[in-house]
């Protein structure tokens, strides 16, 4: 196995992805989301420059449908069999690590909220307001190690507090050293994504 390891350097980390999950009592399919993503391109519904829609619904796991963008991709994602929406940031963002985490989180939550509000689905889709995954798609700056998690916490914890309004979060790292650094954060307090969105977008400009 060719795991090459460097020390984490999260101050420079840009390739951040955040995933939110579809609730157990709702679902969303590629067939539903492909026209929506195309519509988002036509109407400029999301920030940045959307380019195209990539359909990987033939894969049973991993990315299912991507709204490919210049700054980042919006993904209907099935990694580890869990359906959710993820925003993969590709281009650099300004500000501190905490600022960047907040920005990426706002992107994905806004996209998930747009899906929740989309009238074209036969049954409305709902996302969990008490769970989020943070992924670093950069093995150079963020190797999948405990050290990276330690370095992340000072930026992550305020984000989670802002997300839920409390500090009662369980944070755990997925341990396969070859997989990207991936942290699951869960809080017991259930909430709607609508409320989460309101808290995330309070005060600061998007």
């Amino acid at each position: 196995m060719n795991v090459v390891s460097s020390a984490p350097d999260l101050a420079n980390l840009q390739r951040i992805a955040i995933k939110v999950f579809v609730s157990a009592d709702s679902t969303i399919t590629a067939r539903d989301v492909i026209p929506v993503f195309h519509r988002w391109i036509q109407t400029g519904a999301v920030n940045g420059l959307p380019i195209d829609v990539a359909n990987y619904s033939h894969l049973p796991t991993g990315p299912c449908v991507l709204l490919v963008g210049h700054e980042g991709h919006y993904v209907l994602d099935r990694t580890e069999g869990r359906l959710g929406v993820q925003y993969n940031r590709k281009q650099p963002l300004e500000g501190s690590l905490a600022d960047r985490l907040l920005s990426v989180t706002r992107h994905v939550v806004r996209a998930a909220r747009l899906l929740e509000a989309d009238a074209s689905f036969s049954t409305p889709v709902r996302f969990l307001g008490n769970e989020v995954e943070i992924i670093a798609q950069d093995r150079l700056l963020a190797p999948n190690s405990d050290e990276t998690l330690v370095e992340l916490r000072p930026a992550l914890d305020p984000l989670l507090t802002r997300w839920s309004g409390n500090t009662d979060w369980t944070v755990s790292r997925k341990s396969d050293p070859r997989a990207p650094f991936r942290v699951a954060a869960v809080t017991k307090a259930t909430d709607t994504l609508e409320n989460v969105e309101a808290r995330l977008f309070e005060s600061n400009n998007y």
Binding site: V4, A7, H38, L49, Y56, H58, V75, R178
Partner: protein
């Protein structure tokens, strides 16, 4: 910290130096110090391709809209915006991958691409949506695990392919792997292979009968053979030259019936020198070896190569690798053991199509069938682990866009199946009609016309459901799909082939596929099919059902599908599809006006067509329909061996199509060929109105060339080529007509056209 710092000496010095140079060229290009065309060829030679929409234009379903990339005018080639995502091709010689390489590819797909690895029809790997700025790091990380992307594209020797089961095949003469590897190493960066007008493709096959090596469609193809001289068995190759698919396919010509193993590398060098010296350079549409062979004749080409070979200074690399051959071979991880357990029913279904008993007792090859050649990073990493546990260190990618695990102990097969199942990689139906090959098409390819992947996904979905119920003779057929006539999906050499075209219907553009019949997958791609007619994309599943249904009903004994299509004849096959060609008006059924898997309106006719124009269009369409009939009739005559008549019909088809186009400006055009050609030249060629966005005036030249020759040809392959050319001329006429009606963007002037090397095959 950078990847360069971190990887340090893991990157072999020579590769590291090359990548440093490439990175410097990127920096210089950013400073505007390298010309666009030079930089395009530079990155292409490192496998960094353009991708659809990198010209900053996209049809969003309501019209063609600009994509305002923030590149500030920076470009990475003519008409190619810097910030637009690109495709990275990664050359995998003979498809052989180690588990460490698989891990790295999975990482790269996650970090720089979209989390998906794609296996191509030439055993390469492709990553899409890659930013040019990320390519040096990506290449260093590949180099650290022994992969170079050098010469993955551009006018170079491309990936050397070989049978994925070489060394374990029950039918091979001998294992061709070390020869493929030696050829790749010898030709990579060889000074004699740097000045080609186009690409050069090499393939090795262990036998004549099967399709794994596809020698017949390669510039240089070698089939393993032996001969016995004075009681000593000698290894060698039956060599073929000048094959190729593309817009105008050529079957390879026999070059030498027995070339000793010592002569393979010097002959490749000699061919490279002849090709570099005499091959076309300016007209890149006719610059492949196949055109040079056709122009010189194979005998003259052979003579020139032999003469060149005799003049070469000896090089010890020609034969040095042969000393290693006795030691060459893969080590099985475990001792072979026969299967003891029947396994679950899911296992049994899978093993019927995905398991091949090796020549070595107790071992099998398991095929991991990949839908559309794709697998996610997580799956690839998981597969690397499975390979480590079951077979050791290597797997191979196949030209059918799958991956094979070799040296699986037979008794491990059920356990292997369950591990693959857990990864979502135990799809049954490998090497069946439901295991479809498709090029990237409109998903990512700049030249794609229709969605080859969308159609392939739909056909796979429908066929997988009925696979067990299908007659065995149907089950084992192959379907191959290309997004355009360029044939990257290898549609010519399948039982049922399709390639994307468009048709202009009532003010809209409708995605269609040409149906290609008469190809042979077996015998190294032993015969090329021809198009029998264009059918709306949404009706292609019906085409498959009808043709296979008729095959089942009317098959005689163990007749092959190929023989069946020849016996029934193209006329009858076309007749049975005739009703499927009808496209209902847009207001009656919009489904026809979008492509598979893509809800966007396919092209958009937002320009109102005046009544006068409407009438003219009708006249044009009438002529185009007549031209289609003539080209089809030409095929029938070709089949019947009346080459002169076939030639005349193909020529007539081009004239009629040209005449139809002229009618959009000059209704009173006569039937005189001289007048048609002259008017066509003035109105559509000199004005560049007929020019294809990428191919420029190439298709018009087909008409001019044939018109310049007064007598019909009586040569089978020349006639066949003319029919292909007439078909392409017709497609270009359809496209031109659609442009004139405002349904397709106008072609840019050819000076800004992309280099033809951007065609991703």
């Amino acid at each position: 910290m950078t990847w360069k710092d971190l990887l340090g000496e893991r990157v072999p010095t020579a590769l590291g130096r090359e990548i440093d140079t490439y990175e410097n060229q990127i920096a210089l290009k950013r400073l505007g110090k390298i010309d666009d065309k030079v930089f395009a060829e530079t990155r292409l030679r490192r496998g960094a391709y353009g991708q659809r929409y990198d010209n900053g234009q996209r049809n969003d379903g309501t019209g063609v809209k600009p994509l305002p990339f923030p590149s500030n005018g920076q470009t990475k080639g003519p008409d190619t915006i810097w910030d637009a995502p690109g495709m990275q091709r990664i050359k995998i010689p003979f498809g052989g991958l180690t588990t460490a390489q698989m891990d790295t590819l999975a990482d790269l797909a996650e970090e720089y691409s979209d989390g998906v690895c794609h296996i191509t029809t030439r055993q390469d790997v492709q990553l899409h949506y890659v930013h040019i700025d990320d390519t040096p790091s990506l290449m260093r990380r590949l180099a650290a695990v022994g992969i170079t992307t050098r010469e993955a594209c551009g006018n170079t020797v491309r990936n050397v392919t070989a049978c994925p089961i070489a060394g374990v095949c029950r039918d091979e003469t001998f294992d061709v792997t070390p020869y493929a590897l030696a050829s790749m190493r010898f030709l990579l960066g060889h000074p004699d292979a740097q000045d080609f007008g186009r690409k050069f493709k090499v393939a090795f096959s262990g036998c004549r009968d099967h399709a794994c090596g596809l020698v017949n469609m390669h510039d240089f193809g070698a089939i393993a053979v032996t001969r016995t001289t004075d009681g000593v068995e000698q290894r060698g190759f039956e060599v073929y030259i000048g094959g190729g698919l593309g817009a105008v396919p050529h079957e390879a010509k026999p070059f030498e019936s027995f070339m000793s193993e010592e002569e393979i590398l010097p002959t490749l060098q000699a061919i490279s020198r002849v090709f570099a010296r005499l091959g076309e350079k300016r007209n890149r549409a006719r610059a492949r070896v196949k055109f040079l062979v056709a122009q010189l004749g194979v005998n003259e080409f052979r003579r020139l190569v032999r003469e060149e070979r005799d003049s070469l200074a000896a090089d010890e690399r020609w034969t040095a690798y042969l000393n290693e051959l006795p030691r060459y071979g893969e080590q099985a991880l475990k001792t072979g053991r026969p299967l003891e357990d029947a396994g679950s029913s899911a296992y049994q279904t899978w093993s019927r199509t995905n398991v091949y008993r090796q020549r070595q007792p107790g071992y099998a090859v398991a095929t991991v069938s990949l839908p559309l050649g794709d697998l996610s990073s997580g799956q690839l990493r998981g597969l690397a682990d499975v390979a480590r546990r079951f077979v050791g260190d290597t797997v191979r990618a196949t030209v059918e866009q799958n991956i094979v695990l070799r040296w699986v102990r037979e008794s491990d097969l059920p356990a292997l199946h369950s591990e693959l199942e857990a990864l979502g990689l135990a799809r049954p139906g490998a090497a069946t009609i439901a295991d479809i090959t498709a090029c990237p098409g409109t998903d990512t390819c700049k030249l794609g016309i229709a969605s080859s992947r969308g159609l392939a996904a739909e056909l796979e979905r429908q066929l997988a459901k009925q696979i067990d119920a299908l007659e065995p003779a149907v089950r084992e057929l192959r379907i191959k799909i290309s997004g355009c006539f360029n044939s990257c999906g290898q549609h010519h050499i399948s039982d049922l082939g399709f390639y994307g075209v468009s048709r202009h219907v009532g003010g809209h553009v409708v995605p269609h596929f040409q149906v290609v019949l008469g190809g042979k997958w077996v015998e190294n791609g032993g015969a090329y099919g021809l198009a029998i007619g264009a059918i709306p994309a949404k009706k292609i599943p019906d085409v498959v059902r009808r043709i296979t249904g008729r095959f089942v009903e009317e098959r005689r004994g163990s007749e092959s599908f190929y023989d069946f299509t020849i016996r029934i004849g193209k006329r009858a096959l076309r007749e049975m599809l005739e009703d499927l060609t009808t496209v209902p008006p847009h207001e009656v059924d919009t489904a026809y006006y979008s492509d598979w898997g893509d809800p966007r309106e396919f092209g958009i006719g937002d320009m109102g067509i005046g009544e006068c124009a409407g009438e003219v269009v009708s006249l044009t369409e009438f002529d185009l329909a007549g031209a289609e009939s003539q080209v089809f009739e030409a095929q029938l005559q070709l089949e019947e061996g009346d080459f002169g008549h076939a030639d005349t019909l193909a020529y007539g088809a081009m004239l009629q199509a040209a005449k139809g186009l002229i009618k959009t400006e000059f209704v009173d055009i006569s039937d005189d060929p001289d007048q048609i050609v002259s008017e066509f030249r003035t109105r559509f060629f000199d004005s560049k109105v007929f020019f294809d966005r990428f191919a420029g005036g190439k298709f018009a030249q087909y008409l001019f060339r044939r018109h310049a020759r007064s007598d019909p040809s009586d040569d089978a392959s020349a006639t066949r080529r003319l029919i292909e050319e007439a078909q392409l001329f017709l497609e270009a006429t359809h496209a031109c007509q659609a442009r004139l009606a405002g349904q397709l963007p106008a072609a840019p002037p050819p000076t800004s056209a992309l280099p033809p090397t951007e065609r991703p095959s």
